[in-house]
Symmetry: C2
Subunit: 274 residues, 2 copies
């Protein structure tokens, strides 16, 4: 599997991906799932992909040459000349459909779902940042202030901390920390997600990023975060009172009377019901 | 959906279930997913169920009258007279197969999977405690010291804290706190899991339990835990350094040279590839 997450903040965008790919548990490999498209000063885009690796690799390969026709000018729109991130996302959707047209029928015959999901975000000079999640059908949705992050792949383990922390006002470095904690929880609980990680932090309106890092076992920040988070989480856990079963103010009231009888079958079996 | 979790410790067993059932998002109801079978001093068993509600309700109904033949004595084995939890789990497996024989074909015609999963644990006088996870086919696996907990339903959100805390030596009340934190994370991130919760704490060799509680919105312990956990988690998160991008000891080393070029596509598109 895979775990990728991207966040859209007022201050910028943060992208994080793992790099484990597996076809069954005995065929595990490392593949990068992030790619950055940058024309400094003009456009910055980042693409994260999950799902069938042959599909996502094909989409990434095609994406650089894929084009849509502009209905007004009849000119070709590519991710390199699109005037908006929305148009660039349409080009990405078209690339997904292109791969479907090429491979979909054969995959179906082989019993393989056409399964790919992508997160695509960035900024083109002249408009604000945008962040999209693109589905297997090439359609897509956009992140909003109410839903400022997208996750693809093994998303559930790492969702609670994002739900607790991320808002559009979260500062960039705090969001970077948060997605790394989210990834750490996922790594802890799911073998199919693995290091190294690729992290991109994009500051609004820069139209380029120098904060592109590959995080492996030896990365001092991620090691610190992993150890500190695990240890402090444990301290917090230990600091919360255990439940008590008497009358004190945090006691768990014991169930009595009919509520208790509804849950509990006591003693001998009923007569045969069926 | 549903979230149920059960833990087997040296000190006893802990069972927790939510009570939300949904058939699509506009048909949400409250159904209890826990049932306790107790003959004080002789046997204590607890069953948690997830999956198709009509199946799990039928299994629970049948379970009290289901019987297997003992091949040696030709006597009927039920959950009320089984000499071991293993035999009781076999009776439960037989009840699942009984419902499959009755409903499986009709469900298949209606395009509905025969989907049910259960956690079943407890103790029969004369042997140790045991905890099983029972599948749709009526087969089952048993918890061990290495894998002391089972989860069914929406299990991923709440798994990281269990992975971090639970070992066979965890005290009972600490385990009760841990499954409640695990449930709290699940409630936070998934609408299809909801209050009230049913919690059972069983102390080894008691062959009965008085710690059976229903936890709703007003439960003071769960409210305290929910608020404290959320707030302290946030404090821990805030206490961890943000990543820095310079040369300090926890810095995230920036990617340079070929590694960076491998991730980044700069500027103009390649020639047409396809």
């Amino acid at each position: 599997m895979t775990y990728c997450v991207a966040v859209k903040l007022n201050a910028g965008l943060v992208f994080l991906s793992d790099s484990r790919t597996n076809a069954g548990l005995d065929q595990i490999s490392t593949f990068r799932k992030m790619i950055v498209y940058e024309k400094p000063g003009e456009r910055f885009m980042c693409l994260l992909s999950a799902g069938n690796l042959s599909i996502s690799q094909s989409v990434r390969e095609i994406l650089q040459v894929e084009q849509l026709k502009d209905p007004e000018t009849d000119e070709a729109i590519t991710i390199w000349n699109a005037k908006s991130m929305f148009d660039a996302a349409r080009v990405l959707g078209a690339a997904v459909r292109h791969v479907y047209d090429r491979d979909g029928e054969s995959l179906k015959r082989a019993g393989v779902d056409f399964n790919v999901s992508m997160i695509f975000g960035g900024q083109v000079a002249g408009e604000g940042m945008r962040l999209f999640q693109v589905y297997s059908a090439g359609n897509f949705i956009e992140a909003t202030a109410e839903t400022p992050f997208f996750q693809i792949g093994e998303s559930k383990y790492g969702k609670p901390v994002l739900d607790r922390v991320i808002t559009p006002n979260t500062p960039l470095d705090e969001a970077a920390k948060c997605v790394l904690v989210s990834m750490d929880s996922t790594l802890k609980s799911n073998l199919s997600v693995g290091l190294p990680l690729d992290l991109v932090v994009y500051e609004a309106d820069q139209l380029k990023s120098d904060r592109i890092v590959c995080i492996d076992d030896n990365n001092p920040y991620f090691r610190m975060l992993h150890n500190t988070w695990g240890q402090k989480l444990r301290e917090v856990f230990d600091s919360i009172e255990h439940p008590t079963w008497d009358g004190s103010h945090t006691a768990v009231p014991l169930m009595t009377g009919s509520a208790r009888r509804a849950l509990k079958k006591i003693s001998t079996p009923k007569d045969k019901l069926i």
